[in-house]
Symmetry: D2
Subunit: 356 residues, 4 copies
Amino acid sequence: MKLVHDPIHGYIELDEFAVKLVDTPEFQRLRRITQLGFAFLAYPSARHTRFEHSLGTFHLAKEIRRYNPEIEEEAVYAALLHDIGHYPFSHTLEGLFPRHEENTVWLIKHGEIKDVLGENNSNLLIKFLKHPVVSGDIDSDRMDYLVRDAYYTGAAYGVVDLERLVRNLIFTEGMLVVGEKGIMAAQNLLLARAMMYPTVYFHHTAKIAEAMLRKAVELESIGLEEIRTMDEIDLVSRLRRSCKNEVRELMRAIDERRLYKRIYCSGRELEEKEVMKLVEELEGEFGHLALVDHPPKPKYEERNAFVRVGEEVKRLSEVSPLVRSLVELKNVHWRWCVYARRDVKDEVEHFVKRLL
Amino acid sequence: MKLVHDPIHGYIELDEFAVKLVDTPEFQRLRRITQLGFAFLAYPSARHTRFEHSLGTFHLAKEIRRYNPEIEEEAVYAALLHDIGHYPFSHTLEGLFPRHEENTVWLIKHGEIKDVLGENNSNLLIKFLKHPVVSGDIDSDRMDYLVRDAYYTGAAYGVVDLERLVRNLIFTEGMLVVGEKGIMAAQNLLLARAMMYPTVYFHHTAKIAEAMLRKAVELESIGLEEIRTMDEIDLVSRLRRSCKNEVRELMRAIDERRLYKRIYCSGRELEEKEVMKLVEELEGEFGHLALVDHPPKPKYEERNAFVRVGEEVKRLSEVSPLVRSLVELKNVHWRWCVYARRDVKDEVEHFVKRLL
Amino acid sequence: MKLVHDPIHGYIELDEFAVKLVDTPEFQRLRRITQLGFAFLAYPSARHTRFEHSLGTFHLAKEIRRYNPEIEEEAVYAALLHDIGHYPFSHTLEGLFPRHEENTVWLIKHGEIKDVLGENNSNLLIKFLKHPVVSGDIDSDRMDYLVRDAYYTGAAYGVVDLERLVRNLIFTEGMLVVGEKGIMAAQNLLLARAMMYPTVYFHHTAKIAEAMLRKAVELESIGLEEIRTMDEIDLVSRLRRSCKNEVRELMRAIDERRLYKRIYCSGRELEEKEVMKLVEELEGEFGHLALVDHPPKPKYEERNAFVRVGEEVKRLSEVSPLVRSLVELKNVHWRWCVYARRDVKDEVEHFVKRLL
Amino acid sequence: MKLVHDPIHGYIELDEFAVKLVDTPEFQRLRRITQLGFAFLAYPSARHTRFEHSLGTFHLAKEIRRYNPEIEEEAVYAALLHDIGHYPFSHTLEGLFPRHEENTVWLIKHGEIKDVLGENNSNLLIKFLKHPVVSGDIDSDRMDYLVRDAYYTGAAYGVVDLERLVRNLIFTEGMLVVGEKGIMAAQNLLLARAMMYPTVYFHHTAKIAEAMLRKAVELESIGLEEIRTMDEIDLVSRLRRSCKNEVRELMRAIDERRLYKRIYCSGRELEEKEVMKLVEELEGEFGHLALVDHPPKPKYEERNAFVRVGEEVKRLSEVSPLVRSLVELKNVHWRWCVYARRDVKDEVEHFVKRLL
């Protein structure tokens, strides 16, 4: 057994099998995948990585299982591995490649992790990646990242009574539901998440840098096979050494924090076709100097958090008016934007206005 | 100048005049008025007093004024003195006597504080007790108590980014409004408050003890003139030494935490008359062994928190769906209850059922 | 099982037997015994009580036993009860009465606790009060109070890695020794303690108030039989209502924080006889207006903290030069003092100078 | 003015001039220089960078100046820039290149920073890098890094009462001395530092990885001109792409955390000549598979911390036996070691034993 010191959970115990998984190159790569992408450009101290987060998620999954021993042990190791598929700068590149969950599956099937697990167990573990302990609305993943992201950004919004929540999660009929005494803590978790979105996760500074990086990766034509196992050092050094001027320029601008400016932002929904057209027109006119950032609408899956009141299982949103109102928030914070390099700001603004 | 060390604010600076006010018997009495009444029966560590809270409120008021120098200095001293009228165990006895705000005014007019202030200034300061810096929906009072109560109970709900809020409060046209960059912090403050209510402030254990104390004070026929300047030692020792059996018994039961049991609870609204009748009937039948606890409905004054968006001043509830939904919460958590001593639990239950 | 929320340890689990002990009047009395005596006059927020501390000590003892199951269960309940003998304002009155440990034994033998324990178990438990888990140099008592006192005063000195220490305490040959990986944490505990002494525990403001209270209790001729079960409300209300002017005056001065002034302080050792003479002379001349405070020298028992290095058990002071140097500190901070009421300050000063 | 949110100091205010300095490529490079080198291999969450630390140092310097307005403003900007010369992985490569302070001077003279400052001011600022506010025994640099490193590692040792210390630093006769009320806080700072050394800064896991990286850089023959402006991405990607097998192998082993093993460690002092011989012999026999790590003895400059007691300025070590004993600690924790790749562990061990 090995002990890892962690500012969030104190000491995290890794059993022998967990140590073997952690000691694979795929898992060690997570040390070089920033948890919050470019959030550090707005919150300089947000430098934590998927590595610590994965250990923390494992720890909480184990704690939840301690109170619910009928949960299969595999779910706990699935919690450990659930994020190994993240690309450099976490969610940044998911617009260009399949979602990181698919890459997690691929790496478990093809990496050294498979040697540790054996083929049968690999397939079994892949199934457990969907287990509610690691992939529900109130799960070990979300519990860890909220508290951790709050700690590292210094944001006041992510303080959650993890111990109370863990003690009041009940695994029943294949679901992880919140017991009555945990309702406030669960509500607090979802509220914390709702407040972290606009202040941290969707911070416009990070959004702009992410759009710039996406453009650079696109121009560099990096393929899925390459990106699967790249860490941030591979990717950034590749872009810095690109033979394309535009790519080097974009990367350098990110490195030196000379970010593009927001030209236009809107909460109005666009059809796929409209987005495509906008992208094309801007690209035709300005090339890499103007970028469209049209993120997918966030799914606040609050509707799928369940609580047990007496003998009944209900949706948390039924019980809590606050959680109910979180649904409304979606439309408040979602935005698509156009960014442009400072020197062409006015031209792009003019062009966009004419276009819309 | 004097420095007071405080776990919430670090160091609190008291200028010479503040020291004089703090050094009066009225202010020192606050050291013996528990901030959260009997909450310590549920949260043993909630032993902080109105004294620390008053210093903290003063400190925050001064900070707000630092960013808004047009606020009159008197408002800051009003913040210091705003709670000196609290009766023993804070809000517990407000059902029997005038609200503590009235007692604050009385003590400023009649105590040694008047000698420090002089008559003119006393009257002036009394007016400033209503100043938005100390008596609004987002004010130094609330900012201090939420964070402090969370710290001392260990509750995870009261973490608020005080610095961000202070830096973004704008005093304008006689109002203290929240600037755009403070909206999330303000929303968080109101959410924190909404979560502290059911978990801490309305904790049923504290509620029962409070009802028991109210009964004892009522039976002991303690008058307003007496209670005005009593601290908790005066009151408890008086009740312990009462010549009435019932009073001594109630006080001892509180001391030894042998609390009455909840017999009945309901969120249904009753008319004043109905409450009176219920009280009388129960009293007639069971004397001090059964108690009706019909608290006033909490005023979540969220509606009166204002924000400045661009040049416009709006209600925070207009801007934030979460704050809007706090209004609904009122009806979720408000309850009136009947409590009874354990040995007559069944009889009282039976009696109440027949009655309703 | 019952869960108690605690800002230091998160949730403290009380088993059924612990609940029975906690529900006795003797244990509930601890809610009205301030942990740090009059330290709150210097650190207003230091209002925590022996009650929370006792629960925390119990919790840590249980944790230590979890890693050392050969420790008898009785030691854990001894940890729960170890402080029930404290007099009002904790150590303040130990100069006038037997040490609180003796009163703990008396209360276990004569209180309702005996009814819960039964006679045999009472005697057994009394023996376990000396168990190293609760009464060593590095034990659950000290681990709890340092961290708790730091939290409530806001002092930066009491931060200790409790989890690391707990995980590295080894119960062997009737001793609780520190394993190699816990040495830094243990050293830190002793350093923290050494820094809490001058800044908090020996803060001169508290010392003066304590000397004043001792004088009042002495003048009031309160006997051991009375004080044994008194809480702070009993004592203070008794002194406030004394028929002796001097007693009422002293108590009122404490209540209003009009404290005596330090006239003279010295680290020079006096013989018992000299102290007696000084006390008598001052008393003869000034009565209760001048007080001698000659505290016992603190025993920094650092010498008796043991560590296991390899197979060998050594003194911690052998291994750590820092711990070794703590011994020197004793003489740096110990002082005896003379205090006097402000209005006779000069006369007393003059008198003392002539005398010495 | 710009506000940066920081978990340690709350909000850091950057004035317009500071923003200009921060916006240079040299300063932005610090975002990619890990504060604690390879400590993250032992403490996974220690991912903070010189960037945040530099902002924090600037903030504290400004705070110190607030209480000592006679300090020249240049000292505060020197605090901001004091670390821009750090090489990748902070102190790791200082054995191969001039100390980072020299590189700081070079970058101020040759980088874009010079364009911001102008030539005269550049030279002036370089002088202020030696100012006691940023380069003393108790200075803004040390105050920031201790608290920050403790926060990010989760170590309990770095908690320091920064506010008390800042309020009690006195700039007098060109020195920054500690006022009487800050002595405990200053002592605590030095103790915290002394405990961070063995637990974090000298953690053997980090030491091994650092020795491996040094070897790789040496084998790759990277010159001073190159390393001056490299960030960690430049360096690591260069080593990964080396044409030398040994270099790629070393870098990969670090990336995958397959670290060399400790073969031998000793606190015995060696002469330069002896070290050279040992290095040569091992290299001759084992090439890059065995490494000698002979770090310079740490200078605990505790002797140069000064306090003002009354009118006199004294060394802190004169006043505090604990600080005095820190000097002894040097020899306790200093070690030189031999490391080897796992598969040649036994051969190297055998060889070293024969040699010594």
